[in-house]
């Protein structure tokens, strides 16, 4: 009933050499008080140019997953296990030097808060140029010229002047554009975007989203896009992974997950959005609250909130059940629930 724990990326894409393969990724935070899991047994794959959206409530481990892919977690206070293969190379075992050559050049990250993620005492131009210089060895003039191109690429008006501006002199939207320009400095093959629009005003959010989508298509970047906005996911995702309490509870193509969700949590999440609530609200409309990660229940972490939970769910954690061409669901009762009613109907019943 459970699929082998090794989950391979979409087989149709596998021929085209996967860009990223994540297998059984675990992240624990270590403190004096002990070990707290944040990411548990996460697996997914990404082909070049593909967009994966990671959905989930806040605290479900989305940011930690992204940071683990680049090994950006505090050393000594965190432990990453599992496998992350980027273009065939094992990122978790890579020596520091090789990792630094990867970061910012072939894999880039866009942070959630453009306010705090840019250095306040360096100009925008310098912050782009230093990445270019680091990875291409270009002269400062060449790097600055490149920075200007990049600011124009992300459509910052009067880019020439903005090159010499400090972050605090820009509006939130422009700052996030600058942040995107930084991440594109070396045309990465993989872009990790951690809620890149959450901190922005609604109208600016849409502009940034359109820009990102277009750049992603033009540059053919594989992209992992973290969001808690289903509407955004519906617009840009090829694949979707739904996270709950550090695990991917449902993973599949965007159509499958959005139109035919299997996991009770994914269904509840969709219901809470479809039934006419404002789109930018958190996915917290399911009764109850997520578990304390320091003190996880013995069985399925969602069981205390799940309408379908049985004794089995409270006793043992479900494995991964293969679903669709490459996806999986983590639920004891996935077969009992399948086939789900058409999206509209299932939405009202849950």
């Amino acid at each position: 009933m459970t699929a082998p724990s090794k989950i391979v990326a979409d087989p149709s894409q596998a021929a085209a050499a996967p860009l990223l393969e994540v297998e059984n990724l675990h992240v624990d935070f270590i403190s004096r008080a002990g070990r707290t899991p944040a990411v548990r047994d996460v697996s997914f794959g990404l082909a070049p140019g593909e967009v994966l959206c990671i959905l989930g409530e806040s605290g479900s481990g989305k940011s930690v997953t992204l940071r683990a892919l680049m090994r950006l977690l505090p050393q000594g206070r965190s432990e990453i296990r599992g496998q992350v293969r980027f273009q065939g190379e094992d990122v978790l075992k890579m020596p520091r030097r090789a990792l630094n050559m990867l970061r910012g050049a072939r894999i880039s990250m866009i942070f959630q808060e453009p306010m705090t993620a840019l250095d306040p005492v360096f100009t925008i131009g310098d912050q782009i140029a230093e990445t270019v210089i680091r990875h291409t060895g270009a002269s400062r003039e060449k790097a600055m010229a490149r920075a200007l191109e990049l600011l124009e690429l992300v459509r910052i008006p009067s880019a020439e002047r903005r090159l010499k501006a400090y972050p605090h002199e820009l509006s939130g939207g422009l700052r996030q554009r600058a942040m995107i320009a930084v991440s594109l400095s070396c045309y990465p093959q993989l872009l990790l975007a951690d809620e890149p629009t959450t901190a922005l005003d609604a109208t600016v959010q849409i502009q940034i989203l359109i820009l990102l989508k277009q750049l992603q298509q033009d540059l053919g970047m594989g992209t992992i896009f973290v969001t808690h906005d289903l509407g955004v996911a519906a617009q840009i995702a090829d694949k979707i992974a739904v996270m709950y309490a550090g695990r991917v509870v449902e993973y599949g193509s965007a159509e499958e997950v959005l139109l035919n969700p299997s996991h009770p949590y994914a269904r509840g999440m969709l219901a809470s959005t479809v039934s006419g609530q404002p789109r930018d609200r958190d996915i917290a409309a399911i009764p109850g609250s997520p578990p304390d990660m320091r003190n996880l229940p013995a069985g399925c972490a969602f069981a205390p909130r799940c309408a379908f939970a049985t004794d089995l769910c409270h006793r043992s954690e479900p494995g991964l059940t293969q679903r669709g061409a490459f996806g999986h669901v983590s639920c004891h009762h996935v077969h009992r629930l399948d086939p789900p009613a058409p999206a509209g109907a299932s939405v009202t019943t849950l």
């Binding site: 680049m70 950006l72 990792l99 630094n100 050559m101 990867l102 970061r103 910012g104 050049a105 880039s108 990250m109 942070f111 808060e113 705090t116 993620a117 840019l118 250095d119 306040p120 005492v121 360096f122 230093e130 990445t131 680091r134 990875h135 400090y166 605090h168 930084v182 400095s185």
Partner: protein, 318 residues
Amino acid sequence: MWLYIAKRVLYAIPIALGVSIICFSLVYLAPGDPIQSLIPPDASDEDIAAIRRLYGFDKPVVFQYFDWLARAVTGDLGTSLQSNRPVLNEVTRAFGNTLMIAVAAVIVAFVLATIFGTLAAFNLGKPVDKVATSISTLGVSIPNYWMGIVLVILFSVQWRLLPATGMGGDGSDGFSWFEWDQARYAILPMVTMAMIPLGVVTRSTRSAVADTLSQDYVQLLRAKGLGEGRVVLHALRNALPQMLAVMGLQLGYLIGGSILIETVFNWPGTGLVMSRAILTRDIPLLQGTILILALSFVAINLIVDLLQTLVDPRIKRS
């Protein structure tokens, strides 16, 4: 920018005036009559009145202040009661002597503290951090006159490497840090003086750098693939305004010249002059010294303020 500087200088003027009032009123705050130390015990009342008139003590206080201020502005700080030489000469000479070791001490302390503090911040809780923190605690808590005596015992008495006291043959006029003959006299007092700023600046550098390291933008630097050297650069650049403020304050304390350090080394700086002025009730000399010190404190603050606006783009220059 020039407008901004002009504005800050203008703001400093009222402070300087306040300082001058306090210096002037020292004469009246000090117990006893300053005239007493000038007059022979058998002087007649007429003689005393004549001396009073000579020094202007017979006029109302406010007039005395403006007289004094008017003269002070032109550089006339009166005459030392004891040596009969112009106060300005005595003070500038002493001030120069103190400044020579104070500035060197602050530079040495700042450079070492930057290194120790940064190493500590990058290795919080590890042995390097513990060593750096201990050094800074020792620097602050060891009494520096005791430190001075220990240094003299080691370097002058035991090893005979450096002279114990004084300023060398030429005195302050020909002093240069680049001539060993003279510089060797200044090394021990300078090192002793550097201890406290070393402790204080190490501590504040450690906390300022550690603070920047926990910021998102440091994560972004790592995400951009930059090496630790670049990360140190960004962290220091962000910690610099705070470090400058602490260093300015320390330099301010040091130019006051530590009476204890200058006594131990018999270094003819402001500390020694001030203690002499107090012991001999030489009020004009005391007034003049305090005025110059207070004004240079105001000037240092002004310079630190301007430097901060220069290094921190977030401070508005309007």
